[in-house]
């Protein structure tokens, strides 16, 4: 089960490491897709990636529908 879903909008503006649990997931949207996180367990909004023409591993790309599914499964969402 996903605990907290972190919705990150800006590059290098990550939540304090202490805040993130192992079962949390980070979802990169908007300009956050410009810098990939060093943490595991992240995905990036495919449309935001394609729009910016940046290189993100294919397996990390997800659709808006997929993000909505993650949000449904998560206990809560925090925009950071």
């Amino acid at each position: 089960m996903v605990n907290t879903l972190w919705l990150v909008k800006r590059p290098a503006d990550f939540p304090e490491a202490d805040l993130i649990n192992d079962d949390d997931i980070i979802v990169l949207i908007q300009d956050a897709v410009l810098r990939l996180p060093s943490k595991k367990n992240w995905v990036a909004c495919e449309e935001d990636v394609i729009a910016r023409n940046v290189k993100v591993p294919q397996e990390n790309l997800v659709s808006y529908e997929y993000i909505i599914n993650l949000i449904e499964k998560a206990q809560k969402v925090v925009v950071w």
Binding site: Q30, I68, N69, I71, E72, K76
Partner: protein, 100 residues
Amino acid sequence: MKLLFIMVSNPYSNDFNTLIKMSQASINQGHDTAIFFMGNGLYSIVREEIKNLAENGVKIYYCAHNAEQRKIKPDSWAESSSMYGLAKLIKEYEKVIILD
């Protein structure tokens, strides 16, 4: 799922695009979806894309105080509300996403 967006962000921002795409995806999957507009978020309520979301079933609320302050008159498909109204929505909706 009941999903609530709080839109506070500036007009013509990346948050506007995120708001449109995410709430459309949410309603497409049959979730009960709402947007609450406050602060500078109010400026976006007059855009065509929001009207389309409303027609597709997204519930639209706004802070009447911020609308008046900014001289914005939302259409009738948007429901006038307040910070207390927002608090009650937060009770009711399972997930809350703030864009500011």
